[in-house]
């Protein structure tokens, strides 16, 4: 258990929120005439195009400072995250009673799985906020983006189902306004579809959470609790059918959010119509909320249900890979093609999760980060093409490499990452997912591997139609190459893409222990889930073995005894109960939220 004097997770969640509020309080002369108001609520007549290019302005400066400060805190978190003991449980846990009458705590924590999602979020937000050319009301834009960042952080870090649900739903609001306020021609349709579709999915999530809490209460001494760890401990003793139903509720909600075929039809519209920054964040991060929820709420809390439904989800993922690939190939618009390609990528994530092998799940987590980096970069580059050319239809493009050689090179690097070229991040994740799936579910992997061919087909065909060939359209003749500023913006993503491809070890070392712990839970709860005993060679640790050996939730299992002096000195709480303490909120008993 790692704790620090600094309530770092709270800072990470509240800092962007504070930034959003500051943006809201800033004076803005143009508030009454923003494109947002004109476009979103006007009916009947076509929405006007977003306003002229905005300068950074005071809101922009606030946004920049907050986003970079946030990034600094997250970097601190990543560096401070214990590696020496390969701690599997939640670290930096912060727990405060919030709505005590219902057993709701404000409780945050981070483990190897969420650590890099948080890092990716913190990295992608400043890039999305300041990379693309901003049009329209910068104050509202910065405010929504910072609110979105806070909500995403809250979702990834929450250890309380109520906090999770609230944060998960809050993301929809900025998401809606970003699409509706700064989007393309059909932005109102797209934003409405996005909101209603995902909100409908959330109904299942809500019901599942309430059902879980109510059913679990009698087994928790009659106390209601929304605490993730306590619920995970209790859920195993619920009737089998209840667990499966609860999992199904989670699965439907997250399948819409992820989105898994056949719940995907909101995605192409939304991503195509969203502004560049919106697409980057939607694809890079909001996708991952669903995938993360599937892992954290689905597999972690109700492993029995997950094990029961695994064949269904694996099949949906495999079908999604093939089906998504076929659809992607035929797209006629670059942005729409990238949006559909995302369906294939996220299907890989789900495939890896439900393979229930440590390689598969670790690969799935890596794929989440990969997809954030790669898709973020790709949407940014697509946005540059859009800025320059005003069209993304393949029939209007072609031969751009002639006038944009550096852009073409950067784009090719990102495309190769999406295809899964070894040496870039995409390959490591994809390979781990497939090798992990093959070990447990051979034929699903054999089907899914088809994507190595189809991904090359649609990505390279798209690349060819945009950058290669003779310049037939004179408008493509003298297009300005990528600027130094844009290059600097995309550079961190490229560095991440190459680094994770060449040396993923620091990443994997932090993720694997948490994944092993998760799979131990699945193995304990559902012995017939065929979890392969693959994680016993390199990184099997005393802490993990203790957890595996002891009864679920036993408070005696010492965790991460080697995790170093500062934090773990006094409180060697057990991993499953994660009775964390930050100064000011000391809770001692295992899972005791009262």
């Amino acid at each position: 258990m790692k704790t620090t004097g600094l309530p770092i997770l709270n800072i990470i969640v509240f800092l962007p929120l504070a930034g959003a509020i500051i943006c809201l309080l800033l004076p803005s002369a143009s508030w009454s005439s923003t494109s947002l108001r004109r476009s979103s609520w006007s009916t009947g007549r076509p929405a006007p195009a977003p306003g002229p290019v905005s300068t950074l302005g005071p809101a922009g400066i606030v946004g920049l400072v907050v986003a970079l400060l946030e990034l600094a805190f997250v970097i601190f978190l990543v560096i401070d995250y214990p590696t020496s003991g390969h701690a599997a449980g939640f670290q930096f846990v912060s727990r405060h009673s919030w709505i005590g009458a219902f057993g709701i705590d404000w409780s945050l924590g981070v483990d190897g799985i969420s650590l890099f999602l948080v890092a990716m979020t913190a990295l992608l937000f400043p890039i999305a906020m300041f990379g693309p050319t901003l049009r329209g009301n910068s104050r509202a834009f910065m405010g929504w983006m910072l609110l979105l960042e806070a909500a995403c952080m809250g979702t990834f870090l929450s250890l309380d189902l109520f906090v999770f649900f609230v944060m998960f739903e809050i993301t929809l609001v900025p998401g809606y306004f970003l699409v509706a306020g700064w989007g393309g021609a059909r932005r109102n349709y797209a934003a409405m579809k996005f909101f209603i579709y995902t909100f409908a999915g959330s109904a299942f999530l809500f019901v599942a959470i309430i059902a879980l809490v109510v059913l679990a209460a009698p087994r928790n001494g009659g106390h209601q609790t929304f605490d993730l760890i306590t619920l995970a401990r209790i859920a195993g003793s619920l009737p089998h059918a209840d667990q499966v139903l609860i999992f199904c509720g989670f699965a439907v909600a997250f399948a819409v959010k992820i989105p898994l075929v056949p719940f995907h039809s909101w995605l192409p519209d939304t991503y195509t119509e969203a502004p560049t920054a919106g697409s980057m964040i939607l694809a890079g991060i909001l996708f991952k909320l669903g995938a993360y929820g599937l892992l954290r709420l689905g597999i972690y809390v109700v492993p029995v249900g997950a094990a029961d439904m695994a064949p269904v989800l694996l099949t949906l993922a495999a079908v999604g890979i093939v089906y998504g690939s076929l659809i992607t190939i035929m797209q006629k618009d670059l942005k729409r093609l990238v949006a559909y390609a995302s369906i294939v990528d996220v299907a890989f994530i789900v495939l890896g999760f439900f393979a229930f092998s440590s390689q598969g799940v670790t690969g799935g987590v890596l794929e989440m980060v990969n997809h954030g980096l790669t898709t973020g970069a790709i949407f940014f580059l697509v946005g540059i093409v859009w800025e320059r050319r005003g069209t993304l239809r393949f029939s209007d493009l072609g031969g751009l490499q002639k006038s944009m050689p550096i852009m073409a090179a950067v784009f090719l690097a990102v495309v190769m990452s999406a295809i899964g070229l070894p040496g870039l991040n995409g390959f490591v994740g994809e390979f781990l997912v497939l090798v992990g799936t093959f070990a447990t579910h051979r034929w699903w992997a054999v089907v899914a591997t088809v994507a190595v061919i189809t991904a090359a087909v649609y990505m390279l065909w798209a690349y060819q139609r945009v950058f290669h060939g003779p310049v037939l359209n004179p408008a493509n003749d003298a297009v300005a190459d990528i600027s130094w500023r844009e290059l600097a913006v995309v550079a961190p993503l490229l560095v991440g893409i190459v680094f994770l491809g060449v040396y993923p070890r620091p990443f994997l070392e932090r993720v694997t222990p948490s994944v092993n712990y998760l799979l131990d839970r699945v193995e304990q709860a559902a012995p017939n889930a065929h979890v392969p005993k693959t994680h016993n060679v390199t990184y099997s640790l005393p802490a993990n073995q203790d957890v595996r050996g002891g009864p679920p939730g036993a408070a005696g299992a010492a965790s991460a005894s080697g995790s170093g002096g500062a934090g773990s000195g006094g409180s060697s709480g057990s991993v499953p109960s994660a009775a964390g303490s930050t100064p000011g909120s000391a809770t001692a008993s295992a899972g005791g939220s009262k």
Partner: protein, 637 residues
């Protein structure tokens, strides 16, 4: 032995420098940098080779672990090098031929606006190829395997503003990916079965026959893609859209032999499965014959050589499938020499004629190209397997192995030898002998606006020294290279060198009687000479001989078109159906139907909302009355 690290490191450094600083270095500095890095890598390889020579035959293996690449529990993959006889042999000719071709490119690519990009890709290619052969596990080899694929993509599509080049590049990458599908499945099988990808762990186990067959065939599928065998050979002729040095380096001498390397490396797996061995040799023989027939009727100087490469790769697989890995590898090395020579000479011809590639518009060039002509002739004789040039000896070894495997395979091989001699003779005659036809066509092109061609009675000129020096070195290698593994006088260096890798348990020794050997040799010489003679007879005078040039061969048996029509067409239609009918109308249609049903019910219900206060008031009153009525009923009962 730190020189081992230098082998991959030098081209990598070169590539990185050229990637970031290439635009500032410009011509010809970036070319020289790339050449120096490639030569340095070659020198380092020689140093390692010499140090290995000084060791016992069984101890000739150095392992170098660089770093841990992918550690996830039991999956633990290192980025590590394994320098053993097989990998060093490959490395020697990859870096050696690679250095020469990089040097040659300085002259060939002169004046190209993307000069530095070319040399970045060349160095990156050499690096990837080195990783492919030096890696100590299958996954790290796959890293190099895909790396060469990527560089090949970049180099085929180097002149990206040509549609044909762009399409060919994509086709090459995608076709290779079909093979990679097999390679990846093989990797999964390896992990599931062994929990490791290391050659050291994998290649010393006893395998069951069915598992070995599956694994070997999946690996071979990878090799088929990379080495352009049936059914995945179509990309290689199209790959000739790239600059000629690329065709020489990647699509003749090195990258396409990666499949041969993979099969040789996996020999301990393959030998457990006779089905896999038969598959490899039959596919090899069939590819050799098919590609040779097509090569007989191509007019593009490079496409002839491309089909010839496919055909020769078929020979290599025939040798390996027949159990004589040494022969297959011997032919690989010899082929690297003479095919690189042929391509570079062809490049010099193309260079001399200002990018003319049609052989029917050449002729009589022997008078103008004093260095290229003899170089091409040597390559021609080596490829046509005329003793004592390189090709004869290695092909003879393969044919002997094929005879041992099955006389039918041998017969296919001999027939192919005849065709090889024939199409190469046709090429030589059309290019270097006969009438000068380039002048008329040049005038036509001049009229079409290309004024630079042969103005003021100019003639084709010999290439600069950076181009001719590699030609001379490769020509010497094509004349003398066979001594590396001559079947007499204890000169079989390659066989002895590789012996530790192919012990009798893996590749059982077989002996073909000396008399039979002689017979096989004589028959193949006879067929080669017959091919040569018929080629001369047919093409000495005429340029167009429609009866010898049926359209079916010119269109490569219509296989490419046929595949497009029967596979690509329906697939496209299916994808179209999926994306616009099923996804657009069905899946999204269902969603829109749900939202539409809400909208429709709303439209019906809105009629109640008339807007008149009295209606609402009446509604309220009626509701109150009904409630009162209900309550009083309840109270009454």
């Amino acid at each position: 032995m730190n020189a081992a690290y230098l082998i991959p490191a030098l081209p990598l450094i070169g590539a990185i420098v050229l990637l970031f600083g290439g635009r500032r270095l410009r011509e010809p500095l970036s070319g020289w940098l790339a050449t120096i890095m490639a030569v340095g890598s070659f020198v380092a390889t020689v140093i390692v080779w010499v140090s290995l020579l000084g060791k016992q035959a069984s101890a000739r293996s150095i392992d170098k672990n660089i770093f841990t690449w992918v550690p996830v529990n039991s999956l633990h993959v290192n980025a590590g090098l394994q320098l053993d006889p097989l990998s060093i042999l490959w490395c020697l000719f990859v870096t050696g031929v690679g250095s020469l071709i990089t040097l040659y490119s300085i002259g060939y690519m002169h004046g190209d606006p993307s000069f530095s990009r070319f040399f970045f890709l060349l160095n990156a290619f050499v690096f990837s190829m080195i990783v492919l052969v030096l890696a100590d596990n299958y996954l790290f080899s796959f890293f190099g395997w895909e790396g060469v694929g990527f560089c090949s993509y970049g180099l085929i599509g180097f002149w990206f503003d040509r549609d044909t080049a762009a399409v060919a590049a994509k086709k090459a990458f995608v076709t290779n990916r079909v093979g990679d599908y097999g390679f990846m499945i093989a990797l999964f099988l390896l992990f599931q079965h062994f929990g490791s990808f290391n050659y050291r762990d994998v290649l010393h186990s006893h395998l069951s026959g069915s598992f070995a067959t599956g694994l070997a065939l999946m690996l071979f599928l990878g090799a088929v893609g990379k080495s352009a065998q049936i059914p995945l050979y179509m990309w290689l002729p199209d790959a000739m859209e790239g600059p000629t040095p690329v065709s020489a380096l990647i699509h003749a001498a090195t990258m396409v032999t990666a499949g041969v390397y993979l099969v040789a490396r996996s020999a301990p797996i393959i030998h457990f499965s006779s089905a896999a061995q038969w598959t490899i040799s039959i596919i090899g023989a069939a590819t050799a014959l098919l590609a040779a027939t097509i090569a007989c009727n191509q007019n593009d100087i490079k496409r002839v050589l491309a089909y010839s490469t496919v055909s020769q790769l078929g020979y290599m697989f025939l040798g390996e499938g027949s159990g004589d890995y040494g022969a297959g590898i011997y032919h690989t090395v010899m082929h690297a020499f003479f095919k690189a020579l042929l391509f570079l000479s062809a490049g010099a011809v193309i260079h001399a004629l200002h990018d003319e590639q049609n052989m029917k518009r050449m002729g009589n060039l022997r008078r103008y190209l004093p260095i290229t002509f003899p170089a091409f002739m040597i390559g021609f004789l080596a490829l046509a397997a005329i003793p004592p040039f390189d090709g004869f000896w290695s092909k003879d070894a393969i044919l002997a192995a094929a005879w041992h495997k099955s006389p039918a395979l041998w017969a296919v091989g001999v027939l192919t030898a005849f065709l090889t001699a024939y199409y190469m003779t046709r090429q030589v005659v059309l290019v270097f002998f006969g009438q000068s036809r380039w002048f008329d066509h040049a005038k036509e092109r001049g009229a079409a606006g290309d004024h630079h061609v042969y103005e003021a009675g100019g003639v084709p000129h010999e290439a600069p020294a950076t181009m001719t020096v590699p030609l001379v070195i490769l020509a010497a290698a094509s004349v003398l290279g066979w001594l590396l593994d001559a079947p007499f006088g204890g000169l079989d260096f390659i066989n002895k060198w590789l012996a530790p890798l192919f012990p009798p348990t893996v590749a059982p020794a077989f002996s073909v009687a000396t008399g039979t050997k002689w017979l096989i040799g004589l028959v193949s010489v006879a067929f080669a000479l017959a091919g040569l003679a018929s080629g001369v007879a047919a093409w000495r005078r005429a340029v167009d001989r429609p009866r010898l040039e049926p359209a079916v061969l010119e269109h490569a048996w219509y296989i490419d078109e046929g595949v497009s029509r029967t596979v690509a067409g329906p697939l496209t239609r299916m994808a179209n159906t999926f994306s616009f009918v099923i996804d657009g109308r069905l899946v999204d249609g269902l969603v829109r139907a749900v939202s539409g049903s809400f909208a429709a019910s709303g439209r019906q219900l809105r009629r109640v909302q008339t807007g008149y206060v009295r209606n609402y008031a009446l509604g309220i009153s009626a509701g109150a009355v009904i409630i009162l009525f209900y309550v009083s009923l309840r109270a009454g009962s």
